[in-house]
């Protein structure tokens, strides 16, 4: 759905504008600066599997909190699915609740 919206053209210029804005804002923490597109949309992931801990792990960094989508760039729909998957994986001790 998000893909459809983006391909309508108008939205493209808007996102380019915001990218320029981020540049003006000075150097931010480098790692995720460029990542503005949802990884799952780009890779065409339709099902986020709670059993695939290796895939989920980058989204629970450092203190094992779920990475907010303002940083990861994940779209709302996929963030919701990701959240469910992470919570299930935690119940099965495939992912940590916190790393202490």
């Amino acid at each position: 759905m998000a893909e459809e919206r983006r391909s309508r053209g108008g939205a493209g210029s808007k996102t380019r504008g915001s990218a320029r804005g981020a540049e003006k804002g000075g150097p931010r923490r480098g790692m995720f600066r460029r990542r503005k597109v949802c990884k799952f949309c780009t890779d065409k992931v339709d099902y986020i599997d709670y059993k695939d801990a290796k895939m989920l792990l980058p989204f629970v960094p450092e203190r094992a909190k779920i990475l907010p989508r303002r940083i990861s760039g994940v779209c709302a729909m996929h963030q919701r699915k990701l959240q469910t998957a992470i919570m299930r994986a935690r119940q099965l001790a495939l992912l940590p609740y916190s790393t202490d």
Binding site: R6, G9, R16, A19, R34, D46, Q91
Partner: protein
Amino acid sequence: MSQVRQYELVYILSPDATDQEVADLHTQIEAIITRYQGELVKTENWGRRKLAFRIGKHREGTYVLEVFKGTGELTKELDRRLKVIDSVIRHLCVRVDEDLRLAERTRARRDAETQRRIARGLPVGGRSRRSDDDGGDDEPTDRAEV
């Protein structure tokens, strides 16, 4: 009468459980599924794995996945049984049919869109994985269309 759904059940056995005990539990689970007119679709033994955190005194456990079709009554019975088995240190049963169906529909729709674009001679977007230093956000193919 409740509806038949597809579920995934994952349970973790204590690392002390022998191969025989793991096999016996699977047989038990299968028998319950059959008794409730369910159907075992797939079973996977993931073997012994390190747990992401301690459960009780355990730091690792043997993971087993059972994919099955059945009713809510069946899942309730499995849940009840797994709770009282001492060698099972954790289990989780989730319904997956709806999510899988949704994923399949999304995929089918995207494939249809790709076919449509090919038929109309339009560039097909998405497949190109752009490098990270590409400042642009949108698929270049979309701009070409305008």
